[in-house]
């Protein structure tokens, strides 16, 4: 049976890329979906931050929107709405040997956010070759690849080759390691991660009688050991890497029926 989360991801994929006329690009949607795609409704906060850093301006509306959404929902949109997260979830279903990336790799995304989204565009200008947009796999998939196809695969500049190579590497790695891009590189995830601790959205404990079966740990796409927090009586989503997918709740064999999500 298709889960509610999967249905939400499918609808989000369609709805976020169905702007045939009207656009709301003054509004940033904190998911990895490139605003250069002509069908996208919203602006990508990372793209806006890169441009504003190059302009030497403070992105009031973009930061305000990300902060507001993050405080209300935490990383819920990563688990339920993000099209690139959905793609990673699907690719991880390919049956192969799987591995978990070392925990320290999770810190790389914070460096990516600071260096490639804010610092390099600030010092080198908004059109620098070293901004995150130039290697963004979502942009490569939504914009660069369709443009190449429509131009009949004419000779591609080095920047395009680099961008597509990053896409291929990311897509290969996420087959073997669940949500590897989210864990290691995603700058939006890095922005929203601390807000998981503050957000109003709470994944309620699946049970008050936790037995250490660790089914939630196996189901967690972020390999984030929710059992530790559940057995300590803490909400499973109070963690930097949680994508608030609620899988830990849905697989819990001791789930309290009366206890529903706090939505």
């Amino acid at each position: 049976m298709v889960s509610k989360r999967r249905i939400s991801q499918i609808f989000s994929l369609i709805l976020l890329h169905s702007s045939w006329g009207l656009e709301l690009k003054w509004l940033c949607n904190p998911v990895l979906s490139c605003h250069s795609c002509v069908l996208s409704w919203f602006a990508c906060p990372i793209g806006v931050f890169v441009q504003y850093s190059g302009y030497h301006l403070f992105p009031y509306i973009a930061i305000g929107t990300v902060l507001l959404v993050g405080l209300l929902l935490g990383k819920l949109l990563c688990g339920w709405v993000c099209p690139f997260g959905f793609l990673q979830d699907l690719l991880y279903k390919i049956p192969t040997r799987k591995f978990i990336l070392p925990r320290w790799t999770g810190n790389i995304k914070y460096l990516v956010l600071i260096i490639m989204v804010f610092l390099l565009p600030f010092f080198l200008g908004e059109e620098t070759m070293y901004s995150f947009c130039r290697i963004c796999p979502a942009s490569a998939l939504q914009v660069t690849l369709p443009n190449m196809i429509s131009s009949g695969f004419q000779a591609a500049p080095l920047a395009t080759v680099v961008k597509l190579s990053v896409l291929v590497v990311v897509l290969l790695i996420v087959i073997f390691s669940s949500r590897a891009f989210c864990k290691v590189l995603c700058p939006i995830g890095a922005l929203l991660a601390p807000l998981n601790f503050l957000s109003f959205w709470t994944v309620k404990l699946p049970t008050d009688n936790c037995v250490p079966c660790q089914k939630c740990d196996k189901a967690c796409p972020a390999d984030n050991s929710p059992s530790k927090r559940i057995s300590a009586g803490k909400a499973p989503n109070r963690s930097l890497d949680c994508v608030v997918c609620h899988e830990c709740r849905s697989v819990c064999p001791k789930k309290n029926r009366k206890n529903r999500y706090n939505q």
Partner: protein, 87 residues
């Protein structure tokens, strides 16, 4: 389930106030964007655009920065239509 500690609740509320303040300040901000190649008698013509329009322009390089000034990359007197980012 344990509730959030008090300091986290205070941080959440403070964050919420900051987010709303940023949105409010942003909606009240305006920028001068000069037209390129329209200098007449040494006078540059400019448009005053709000922060929301600046965000929209930033999605397709609608504005570029030269020195301390911002310049428009398209004719703002005509309807723009859908524009994709050149990157």
């Amino acid at each position: 389930m344990k509730n959030k500690p008090v300091y986290l609740r205070i941080l959440t509320l403070a964050g919420l106030i900051v987010a709303l303040a940023l949105l409010l300040v942003g909606s009240l901000r305006f920028y001068k964007v000069y037209e390129t190649g329209t200098e007449e008698f040494g006078i540059l013509t400019f448009y005053k655009i709000g922060e929301p329009q600046m965000v929209v322009d930033s999605t397709f390089h609608g504005v570029i920065r030269k020195g301390e000034k911002f310049y428009s990359t398209y004719d703002r007197s005509k309807p723009r239509g859908k524009t994709a980012c050149p990157t």
